[in-house]
C-alpha cells in the first residue's frame, strides 16, 4: 500500500542524507521526496511516499523516529488528509492541438504558465493520481518534459505536526 510519511526534523546539515541513507541502507524504497524549511527556520518538513505492507511501514517509521534529527513524524495515510503535488509540463502545441490542450488543462483546473509558438508550459496541482491522469489525457506524443515536485501533505481538521 502507498503511504505518505511526513517528517518534522532539525534543519541541520546531514539530516536529509540520514533519512535518504536509511532508506537505501535498509532496502526501503522512496517514490517521491520533498523537503523545505518550515515557518520556524530551525526545522524542515520532509514528505515522502513509499510502498509497503504494514510491517514494513512500521519498521520505516520506527527507524525514522530513531534518527536523532527527527523531531516527529506522521503517516498521513492513516487518517483524513490533503495530498498535493505540483507539476510543470511542457507540451508540443500546434494547430488544432492548441485548443485541445487548452481544454484539457481547463478540465484539470491547470494553468498555462508559458506560451510559445509551438509549446505550452502547463502547471497542474493536485493529488498524484490526478497528475497521472492529466499526463494520460494529454498523451505521450505531445509531452516534451515533465517536472513534479513530489507529494506534500497535511492532515485534515485540528491535527497538526509541530513541536
Amino acid at each position: 500500500m502507498r503511504r505518505i510519511i511526513s517528517v518534522l526534523m532539525e534543519n541541520e546539515p546531514g539530516a536529509l542524507s540520514r533519512v535518504v541513507g536509511l532508506f537505501s541502507q535498509r532496502g526501503y524504497n522512496i517514490e517521491t521526496l520533498n523537503v523545505a524549511p518550515t515557518e520556524d527556520p530551525t526545522m524542515s518538513r520532509l514528505t515522502l511516499t513509499t510502498v509497503g505492507d504494514d510491517h514494513k511501514i512500521e519498521q520505516i517509521t520506527k527507524h525514522l523516529n530513531r534518527l536523532v534529527d527527527v523531531v516527529k513524524l506522521v503517516d498521513l495515510s492513516e487518517g483524513a488528509h490533503i495530498e498535493r503535488e505540483l507539476m510543470l509540463v511542457k507540451v508540443r502545441a500546434t494547430g488544432a492541438q492548441r485548443a485541445e490542450i487548452k481544454r484539457c488543462t481547463d478540465i484539470f483546473r491547470g494553468q498555462i504558465v508559458d506560451v510559445g509558438p509551438s509549446v505550452y508550459t502547463i502547471q497542474v496541482t493536485g493529488a498524484a493520481d490526478k497528475l497521472d491522469s492529466f499526463l494520460e489525457a494529454v498523451g505521450e506524443a505531445a509531452i516534451m518534459e515533465v517536472v513534479r515536485s513530489g507529494v506534500s501533505g497535511i492532515a485534515r481538521g485540528e491535527k497538526v505536526l509541530s513541536l
Binding site: G14, S17, R18, Q59, K62, N65, R66, V68, V70, V71
Partner: protein, 582 residues
Amino acid sequence: MELLSGGEMIARALEDEGVEFIFGYPGGAVLHIYDALFKSCKVPHILVRHEQAATHAADGYARATGKPGVVLVTSGPGATNAITGIATAYMDSIPMVVLSGQVMSHLIGEDAFQETDMLGISRPIVKHSFQVTKTEEIPEMIKKAFYIASSGRPGPVVVDLPKDLTNPHDKYEYNYPKKVKLRSYTPASRGHSGQIKKAASLLLAAKRPVIYAGGGVVQGNASPQLRELAQELNFPVTNTLMGLGAYPGSDRQFLGMLGMHGFYEANNAMHHSDVILAVGARFDDRVTNTTSKFCPGAKIIHIDIDPAAISKTVNADVPIVGPVDSVLTELIALVRELRAEEPTLPDQDALGHWWKQIDEWRDHHGLWTAPRYDTTTPYIKPQQVIETLCKVTGGKAFVTSDVGQHQMFAAQYYKFDEPRRWINSGGLGTMGFGLPAAMGVKLAFPDADVACVTGEGSIQMNIQELSTCAQYKIPVKILNLYNGYLGMVKQWQDMQYDGRYSESVYEDSLPDFIKLAEAYQHSGVKVTQLSDLEEAMKEVFARKNELVFMDIHVDPHEHVYPMHVAPNGSMRDMWLNKTERT
C-alpha cells in the same frame, strides 16, 4: 570567564566529562588537539599502533565499565582505519565517542590532502554524528555526543573537527554544559504500565515459560532485576551470545546460551515454550534460525529500549518499550502483587513437568552435564582449554575474544556469573577485536584477570598491539587456541563444501608466536600436552604483572556443536556432533 582554543576545549571537555582514557593516534589534522593534550590534559592517552585498535580498546573499556569509550584519530586514513571498530560498537550498541580530525574548513570538498568525508562514510554505522562548524560550539557538541552515545540504546557518535577550529590562537569562552536537552531526541524513560500488566498476567498463566535475555540486560544494568524475576518465578533463563553473564552461568535455572551454537536444552526450551519473555534481545538471525519456524507455540513478551528492535524479525504479542531495569522492576512488583492474590500461579504442576523435561534435555545433550567432545584423540580439545581457564580464574576473569571457533567455545564453556565479564564482537563478528579490547578492559580494571581468547587467524589482525601493551605495561593474558586453520571457515567447508579448504589454511607460514611475543618484550608459553595445560595456565596467571602469550595447540579438526541445521531449520534442529543430528 576563561578563554580557550578549540584544541584546549577538547582537552578540557574530556576532563570535565570524567573521561579516564583516550585511545588514539596523531596526525596532521589533530596536531593542535595533541598539543593541547600534551600541555594540559589530565586524561591519559593511550597510543595504539593502528586506529582500529583504538576503537576496539575504547569499546572493550566501555563494555567492561558501562562508560563511553573515547577515541581520537586524524582525518583521512586515521578516520577510515577507525571504521571497523565503529561498526563493531554500533552493531553491539556500545557507547563510544569518536573525535576525528578533518582538513581545514576552507579545504573541505576540494579533495585536500588526507580528506575523507568521515560523516558520509560513517553515517550508516553511527548512532549520530556532528560536524563542528564553529569553535564556540565544541563544548556543547562534545556534551551532546556523550549524552547521545550513552543514553537510550547506546551507540557510537562521531564528532568531526576541522583543523582550523582547533587552532591555538583563536580563543573563545569555555563553558561545559552540565546537561543538554535535544528536542528531537528523548529516549523512553519508563515502560507502558498497561503493557507491563499484560506481561505479568501472561507470565503467570505460562506452563512452559522461558526467559530469553540479551545484551540489553548487560548494557541496561538490569542483571539484578533479571535474577530477581527469574528466581521469584522459578523460570528457566537462556542468554544470547551478547547477554552471557546477565544471568549467572552457574545457577541451576540457567540453560546456557541459545542460538546457532546454543545449548540443546536452551534451543529446545525456546522451541517448545508457550511464553517467551525476551529482554534486551533482538531475535537476530543467529538466534532464531528460520523465523517462520521460530517457536511455533510461544506468545512473546518483548522488552527493549529501542522500539525499532521490537517486531522487527519476529512479531511480539506484548511489546514493551522502555529501559529494561525499570520495566523489570515494575514487572516484579506486579507479579508479586498478583501472586499475593493467587499464590497458586503460575501452575506449579506444569512448571514441575517443564523443569523435568528441561533436565532430561540437559542430561542427554547438555554441554555441562558430561563432556560432549571426543576425549580419545591425542590432542588438547579447545573446550578443555576454556574449562581450564574457567577453573584457573575461578570463573571471575574478564574474557575477551576474537571471532571463530575459539569464540564459540569460550561462550559455551566459560561460566560467566557476572555481567560485563564476557567481551566479544557479537553483531559484526570482527576478527582482531580481542587483544585491543582486552587492553581497554585491563586499563579499567588493573587488578582483575583479563584473558584474551583468540585464534592464530584473529590475533594476527591486531598483533601489533603487543607493542602498545609493552609501552603502557598492560599485562593481559593471551590464549591462542592454535588449530592451524581459520577454524570456523574450515568447519563450514567440512560441513557444506565436502572439505574443500579454500583459503582457510596457512601452509607453514605462521610465525613462532612465542618469539613474536618476545620480540615485543613479552614472554610466551607453548603448550601441546593436556597434562601440562592446567599447571602452565596457573603459572601464567600467577605472573600478574606480565603479558604472557599462551600458544596452546589444540585439535585442528574439532567442530563447534551444537550447530543449527540450516537453511530451513527451526530452533530445535541441531547437529550434535559430526554424525548425529536431532
